[in-house]
């Protein structure tokens, strides 16, 4: 699923030592990975490389057997839109759209994700909306909030919307970048369990990033970024 080999990343070519240097990282399909490390350990950089937002300075990054380093910007944009659902730390929701509209936006720019939903649905007109509603209900946002402005929702509610947007159209890889940092412990656990459920349902691989190691036991595998980089 994810295969990194001899990957280094420098922000500028002139930098003496790389920001990130990973000898080998393999993540299998369907795994739920807890990726942790203190601030500045290179978590965000690694995620940006996995999502194809930044390209590795050297080495090979392949996702779904596709080598990202060789793709053009446009193809990488399309690849990301089709195969990766991203839950941002600050959610990145559009304040002037309703939760439903924010979620369906996730597959408006990807034909293959849209297609997946339409294939499963009998009602072609409202298939996207139905799927968004299903995800919101599954993630615990009740119907009364579905058509409110996102700006009116609480942080916890916005987070569920952001998660639903990442899951819509069942992308193969879900990347969650510290999505629980604003929640208290109880809510974190229940939210993460909801993520697991959805990831199983849509058969997605989940890469969950946090600096909070108390969450570690919830995952079946965890990767410490510091020790990962020391292997070099």
């Amino acid at each position: 699923m994810i295969n990194l080999k001899n990957v280094t990343f420098k922000w500028h070519k002139s930098d003496s030592s790389p920001t990130l240097s990973i000898n080998e990282l393999v993540i299998e399909k369907g795994e739920h990975i807890f990726l942790h490390g203190p601030s500045g350990s290179g978590k965000s950089t690694l995620l940006a490389i996995l999502a194809g937002i930044n390209t590795a300075t050297s080495g090979e990054v392949s996702i779904l057997d596709q080598n990202l380093t060789t793709l053009s910007n446009t193809t990488r944009d399309a690849f990301r839109a089709d195969h990766i659902g991203y839950i941002f730390q600050n959610f990145n929701l559009l304040p002037y759209l309703t939760p439903i509209e924010n979620i369906t936006l996730g597959c408006e720019f990807s034909k293959s994700r849209k297609q997946k939903i339409l294939k499963q649905s009998s009602n072609k007109n409202s298939a996207l909306q139905q799927e968004a509603i299903r995800l919101l209900n599954a993630l615990g946002l009740t119907a009364q909030y579905h058509h409110k402005d996102v700006a009116e929702l609480s942080i916890g509610q916005q987070q569920r919307v952001a998660a639903a947007r990442a899951f819509i159209g069942s992308p193969e890889l879900i990347i969650a970048d510290e999505p629980t940092s604003a929640l208290d412990t109880n809510n974190r656990e229940s939210f993460i369990n909801l993520l697991f459920e959805q990831a199983k349902l849509s058969n997605s691989t989940l890469v969950f990033v946090s600096h909070d190691e108390t969450l570690k036991p919830l995952f079946n595998r965890s990767i410490d970024l510091i020790s990962l980089q020391e292997q070099v």
Partner: protein, 413 residues
């Protein structure tokens, strides 16, 4: 489809600044259309002042001066045309009709024109329209007067009122002819020409005012002779049976021995006069162009300022899968939508303006403004503004295109 929806929702979200931009454009469209309409209608009102008259004859002076004094009642000629010459010239072959006019007197600042009944049957304005009566009928006696519509409105006169006509121009004539009151027997419909500001009295009455013959004598003996025997008149208008006579008779007039006369073709001289005023026309056009330019630059400023504020919004779109060209299209749609709405609101405002100002323009500037559908020319103007707005919108759209994805991913809430 999704982009149009996003553009709409995003505009709605920023409605305060969008509305301001929209109104800037609307007001500039309204100004451009109004200025252009007034410019064009002023031109046509101007050339509509007189029509159907082939030749205007007066004492020798400049072409334009003769036109101004005889048709526009601006300035006056010192000399006139002797009645003898008038009778001689109008008796020539090919002359279909003639209207003698005698100017120089006034009533409360409004011009008084002495003429014959031919005036009401042969005088034409605009597209060969003849004078029509709102109330009453042409004068039939020497002490009767027909008012232009504006005279009646302004001075509040009604049929059968009696008025006094003074000798000379101006409001404060010292010598009033109080012994010669005139009875209002007719009020003309508005024409949008100087006719509206004119009081028409029989030619014979002019002599009467000036004491040329004894009033008592006139009252009794010549009551029904509206022409009288004036020594001279200010000018006369002529119509011919065929245009061929126009040139021939004009040449004869200009070479007329007993008296120095001048014959002008009003259509030609009107054109010359308008060309003299063309600089004003060009300045008006320039003004409207600058107004539009300023409003479009205003839109560009707003769009670019908004763009930096919207960096995050655009980055979010990129992060959910929108490609650079999606952002480009989104911003273009937004500026196009803003210009389109601006043009629509501007056209509506324009109709509001000409609808409410047409009365004023008619009565104060003599410009008759037609309220019609947008002409092809006006639609063309709007089209140019739309195109300019769209092109200007491409500038922020191009900038949005080059916003990198990592910009957006790293921007924190």
């Amino acid at each position: 489809m999704i982009l149009a929806k996003l553009a709409y929702k995003s505009l709605l979200n920023r409605r305060a600044s969008v509305l301001l931009t929209l109104f800037t454009i609307a007001i500039s469209v309204m100004l451009l259309l109004s200025i252009e309409r007034v410019r064009i209608d002023a031109k046509s009102s101007f050339s509509n002042t007189i029509s159907g008259t082939d030749l205007i004859v007066g004492a020798r002076t400049g072409d334009i001066q003769l036109l101004l004094s005889s048709v526009f009642r601006i300035g006056h000629t010192n000399n006139g045309v002797s009645w003898k010459s008038y009778e001689y010239i109008t008796s020539q072959r090919g002359v279909k009709w003639s209207i003698p006019i005698s100017l120089g007197d006034s009533h409360k600042g409004q011009a008084v024109l002495g003429t014959t009944l031919d005036y009401f049957s042969h005088y034409r304005f605009a597209k060969k329209q003849s004078l029509t009566f709102n109330k009453g009928h042409p004068f039939a006696a020497i002490n009767e007067v027909v008012l232009g519509s504006e005279v009646a409105n302004k001075l509040g006169y009604k049929l059968n009122d009696s008025i006094v006509i003074s000798h000379g121009m101006g409001n404060t004539s010292f010598h009033h002819h109080d012994d010669n009151p005139f009875k209002i027997v007719g009020i003309l419909n508005p024409t949008g020409t100087p006719v509206d500001k004119t009081l028409h009295i029989p030619l014979a009455a002019i002599d009467l005012i000036h004491g040329g013959s004894s009033p008592a004598h006139a009252e009794h003996e010549k009551h029904n002779d509206l022409t009288g025997h004036p020594k001279q008149i200010t000018a006369f208008l002529m119509g011919f049976n065929s245009p061929l006579y126009t040139l021939q008779i004009r040449r004869n007039i200009n070479q007329y021995k007993p008296e120095a006369l001048l014959g002008i073709m009003p259509t030609v001289t009107l054109k010359e006069l308008w060309e003299m005023l063309a600089i004003v026309e060009k300045i008006l056009l320039l003004f409207s162009a600058v107004v539009v330019l300023v409003s479009l630059l205003g839109m560009l400023t707003t769009l670019l300022a908004n763009l930096s504020q919207r960096r995050r919004e655009l980055a979010i779109l990129r992060s959910v899968g929108a490609r650079p060209w999606h952002l480009f299209t989104l911003i273009s749609i937004e500026s196009l939508l803003t210009t389109l709405l601006g043009c629509l609101v501007g056209s509506a405002l324009y109709y509001l303006v000409i609808f409410s100002a047409s009365g004023y323009l008619q009565s104060h500037a003599g410009i008759s403004v037609n309220i019609t559908m947008l002409s092809y020319y006006e639609l063309g103007l709007i089209g140019v503004i739309m195109a300019a707005g769209f092109i200007i919108g491409l500038i922020p759209a191009t900038r949005a295109y080059f916003y990198s994805l990592s910009d957006g991913m790293s921007i924190k809430a």
